[in-house]
């Protein structure tokens, strides 16, 4: 079973637009695993204390979630939306 993570913006450029990770995993574990894939990406995902930044919009099945301990068991699709400011 796999968790499909869709990345957007700068993170997609640094890592990939879609990443498949094995389940089960918590949302927090997914984000940490992605952080290990890119040094620059890590800066936008984790803060100085290694905590997941709270300015990431996390969408799970079209709902935004905040619970980093949420367990992803089967086939799930996660979107990580980092803050963007272009205009």
């Amino acid at each position: 079973m796999a968790i499909k993570v869709t990345l957007t913006g700068r993170l997609a450029e640094l890592i990939d637009r879609e990443v498949l990770l094995s389940s089960p995993k918590t949302v927090g574990e997914v984000i940490r695993e992605l952080a290990n894939m890119s040094e620059e990406g890590k800066l936008s995902l984790l803060d100085e204390n290694g905590e997941v930044r709270d300015n990431i919009i996390i969408l799970l099945n079209e709902e935004s979630i905040e619970d980093l301990d949420r367990r992803l068991e089967g086939e799930e699709e996660l979107f990580l939306l980092l803050p963007i400011a272009g205009g």
């Binding site: 913006g9 300015n55 935004s64 980092l82 803050p83 963007i84 400011a85 272009g86 205009g87």
Partner: protein, 245 residues
């Protein structure tokens, strides 16, 4: 009022002459005359918004021209607010366009925004966007916020005291990425959506994106709409007396 000019929108039951009258008396601030502000202000002018205040302290650069459709080859080096005023006045002579060649700062922000019925956040950086959010909360003015990056656009409408604000959405100060990539068409789509939200707010019909964010992915042609949460501890809006919508 030039009825013929606006006939096709006045035909709409929820718009009508009354709605057109509201637009004519409306004062809308467009903060930023760039990728979002160009299409937004063009459609607001065409729709007959009575007063458009265009705030932009920058001059036109060649790298703007893939998306900032108010500015043309011959405008390179010209103040964006002035270039915008010229085009918008030529598009619709009935309306008043006020060009403001300043950046929004702590010192001048309130003065520039005061009196507006709606503000469109068409800026291109976080620090000014957060400042504009704070000013609109303080002056209790609805703020339509949109952002773009590459093929992606996001938009939400913030009503002080009713919806989450920008600092609720992004509590930690984000890292600025400059320069950012932009597909001009995506800026166009998002700027048009901002204009539509502003028109709905002014006339008072339809369902604006209150407490919800719309995300447009132009590469995959996907649209997602998801709810946003207010943070009780928000430093910018936590002090407001909330009436959820």
């Amino acid at each position: 009022m030039n009825r013929e000019r606006y006939a096709r929108q006045i035909m709409l039951k929820d718009w009508g002459e009354e709605g057109q009258g509201k637009l004519q008396s409306a004062r809308v601030v467009v903060a930023g005359a760039g990728g979002l502000g160009s299409p937004a202000s063009i459609y607001l002018a065409a729709a007959g918004v009575g007063e458009l205040r265009i705030i932009d302290g920058d001059v036109v650069e060649p790298s703007n021209l893939n998306r900032q459709i108010l500015h043309w080859d011959r405008d390179i080096g010209r103040a964006k607010a002035v270039s915008a005023e010229e085009k918008l006045k030529n598009l619709n002579g009935d309306i008043k366009v006020i060009p403001i060649m300043q950046r929004i700062e702590e010192s001048n922000g309130e003065e520039l925004i005061r009196g507006a019925d709606v503000v469109l956040d068409c800026l291109d950086n976080f620090s000014t966007r957060f400042l504009l959010n704070k000013i609109c909360l303080k002056l209790s003015i609805p703020l339509v916020h949109s952002v773009i990056y590459g093929f992606e656009g996001r938009i939400t409408t913030i009503i002080p005291g009713k919806t989450p604000c920008l600092s609720c959405i992004y509590p930690q100060k984000p890292i600025e990425i400059r320069p950012f990539p932009v597909v001009g068409v995506v800026a166009g789509i998002m700027g048009c959506m901002e204009a539509l939200e502003a028109i709905k707010l002014v006339i008072g019909f339809g369902t604006p994106l209150l407490g919800r964010m719309l995300r447009f992915d132009g590469e995959r042609m996907q649209v997602q709409i998801f709810p946003l949460k207010r943070r009780e501890s928000c430093p910018d809006c936590g002090n407001l007396d909330f009436k959820e919508v």
